[in-house]
């Protein structure tokens, strides 16, 4: 795990502003959001830091395949590997998909 890039965090700020207002008063939660919120404690609200690697806006397939690698144990038995083992395949897909739409 690496600290997120500060430059990237800064660059994503403006985009965060833009997408925020549109979702603010939706009373039917978008699919995957509550699942993805499990990531926020360590990767920032909406996956945008501060914290460990920023997740927002990565492609869904990239996030999903990284999580599957962690889950398989190929990346060792670190905290993120153990964590990934707690989710079903469908849950990993749903949260990766939601995070990929955060800009």
């Amino acid at each position: 795990m690496h600290h997120q890039s500060s430059h990237r965090a800064l660059a994503s700020l403006g985009l965060a502003l833009a997408c925020f207002a549109g979702t603010a008063d939706a009373q039917t939660p978008p699919s995957g959001r509550l699942l993805a919120s499990n990531c926020f404690q360590c990767h920032g609200t909406n996956g945008k830091g501060p914290g460990f690697d920023s997740l927002a806006g990565k492609s869904a397939s990239e996030l999903y395949s990284e999580l599957k690698e962690f889950q398989s144990g190929k990346e060792g038995q670190g905290i993120m590997a153990k964590h990934a083992m707690g989710y079903t395949d469908a849950q990993l897909r749903a949260l990766a998909d939601w995070l990929s739409k955060q800009r």
Binding site: A9, A26, P29, Q41, C42, G44, P50, I79, G86
Partner: protein, 446 residues
């Protein structure tokens, strides 16, 4: 903005020190130095995700009162506003929160208490949460009303109750300052730090661990490790007697066993199944089922129950009347459906700790948003717990678990493969502990 300022603004890794694991509810009794507040407020109100003001709730929007501004209450207030068109008011006794997480590092002088203080400015300015700083006197769980010390009565459509923990009285503990718990960060933490600093080398420290469930399962064990390491360096020849009311180490057994019986064996005297029946503060003596134990400094962590508001509202119907039973799909009380109880005050299968309290808050917020919209809570919520434990003053271990909803038994169940700890401890984990802590606090307060 140079890099250092940016890091400060984002709250990442400003302070080298890290520590303690778990977190918890509101009751911090602290008052702060102004300068520290300023530094802190700069840190917690800087950049991060959503630097815009959310639109205010529209007329007729649902109203939610959040009672208690600790890890659970602050998180739920933030996410109710972020996710819903709702009018949210947070009621809290103190104008700042002092983090329990990392607070054992104050005992070893590695962290200042003021560095652990968080204000509610960002909740107001960025998320539009209304704040009321007052003492809650009475909750009407049916009428959904709250009466405050000032005489004000607040009413809403729903209440989220997050009062954290309260301590059982200990017979003979006439002055809690003489045997501080330091388990709600604040003046008690300072007091214990002062008593440890004043102790002569070769002295005896006693730390007591209450029966489960208590706030932050690994917390007392990591504190014991940390104090032991500090005693070696600063008070040579001293001993730390750990009196555990539980039959054995309750969590992260491999790491804490290796630390207690190996690394710190020349300092720590660990005694299992020892319950405190009464104390004599004058002689600093604890009377137990295994005889009397005396120390120069006594860190007495009493048995715990939900914050007093839970019992006062008649909602303490779990764990032999100690905590609130809830439906873990929404955290609604099983007695009063319009009152939700989250964090350490609820009785669930999940640990009482700040990281998971933050996630319980999100599940609760999501459910409340759905309920106001005429829907039903998510039928398959997931929560997670993660934390780091100090094994020495510069090395840490980690512990994690993911919980899935078990519909047949209506409980959150830990996924076996995900319930794990690090194999041993190291300096990298100690550094990651700071990243984790700052991220968690930002997701809660910023």
């Amino acid at each position: 903005m140079d890099r250092r300022q940016l890091l400060l603004a984002g709250g990442v890794g400003v302070l080298a020190g890290g520590l303690s694991a778990c977190g918890g509810g509101t009751t911090a009794e602290a008052t702060l130095a102004d300068g520290m507040q300023r530094a802190l407020s700069e840190r917690s109100s800087g950049t991060s995700t959503t630097s815009t003001v959310l639109p205010a709730a529209t007329a007729g929007a649902g109203r939610v009162l959040v009672l208690g501004g600790g890890m659970a209450g602050t998180s739920v207030a933030k996410y109710l506003r972020l996710w819903g068109n709702l009018d949210v008011t947070l009621v809290e006794r103190n104008s700042a929160y002092t983090s329990n997480i990392m607070s054992s590092l104050v005992l070893t002088g590695q962290r200042s208490l003021s560095s652990l203080q968080y204000k509610y400015d960002t909740l107001r300015s960025r998320y539009g949460v209304k704040t009321v700083f007052d003492e809650i006197v009475e909750i009407d769980p049916v009428g959904v009303k709250v009466r405050l010390r000032s005489g004000t009565v607040l009413s809403a459509d729903r209440i989220v109750l997050a009062p954290g923990i309260a301590f059982d009285p200990v017979p003979g503990l006439d002055d809690p300052k003489l045997m501080p718990h330091a388990w709600q960060a604040g003046p008690q933490t300072t007091l214990l730090a002062q008593q440890l600093a004043a102790m002569p080398a070769g002295g005896v420290v006693v730390l007591t661990i209450p029966k489960t469930p208590y706030r932050c399962p690994p917390g007392p064990y990591e504190r014991a490790c940390l104090i032991a390491d500090w005693l070696k360096a600063r008070k040579p020849g001293s001993k730390l007697i750990v009196l555990d009311a539980n039959p054995d180490i309750v969590t992260e057994v491999d790491n804490f066993s290796q630390a207690f019986y190996g690394l710190h064996a020349n300092v720590i005297d660990y005694r299992k199944g020892v319950e405190i029946s009464s104390v004599d503060t004058r002689t600093r003596t604890l009377f137990t089922n295994f005889g009397a134990v005396q120390g120069n400094v006594v860190n007495l962590i009493p048995p715990q129950r939900a914050g007093a508001l839970v019992a006062a509202a008649g909602l303490a119907n779990a764990t032999q009347g100690r905590f609130a039973a809830v439906d873990v799909l929404s955290y609604a009380s099983t007695i009063a459906p319009k009152v939700h109880v989250i964090g350490d005050a609820s009785g669930t299968t999940q640990p009482k700790a700040g990281h998971i309290a933050n996630q319980e808050a999100k599940v609760c917020a999501d459910a409340i948003v759905r309920l106001f919209g005429g829907g039903q809570p998510d039928p398959a919520p997931v929560t997670n717990s993660a934390c780091y434990s100090t094994i020495t003053m510069s090395q840490a271990s980690w512990l994690t678990a993911v919980f899935q909803y078990d519909g047949a038994n209506r409980v959150m169940t830990p996924v076996a493969k995900s319930s794990a700890a690090s194999v041993g401890w190291n300096k990298d984990n100690f550094e990651q502990m700071s990243t984790w802590f700052n991220a968690l606090m930002a997701d809660t307060f910023a």
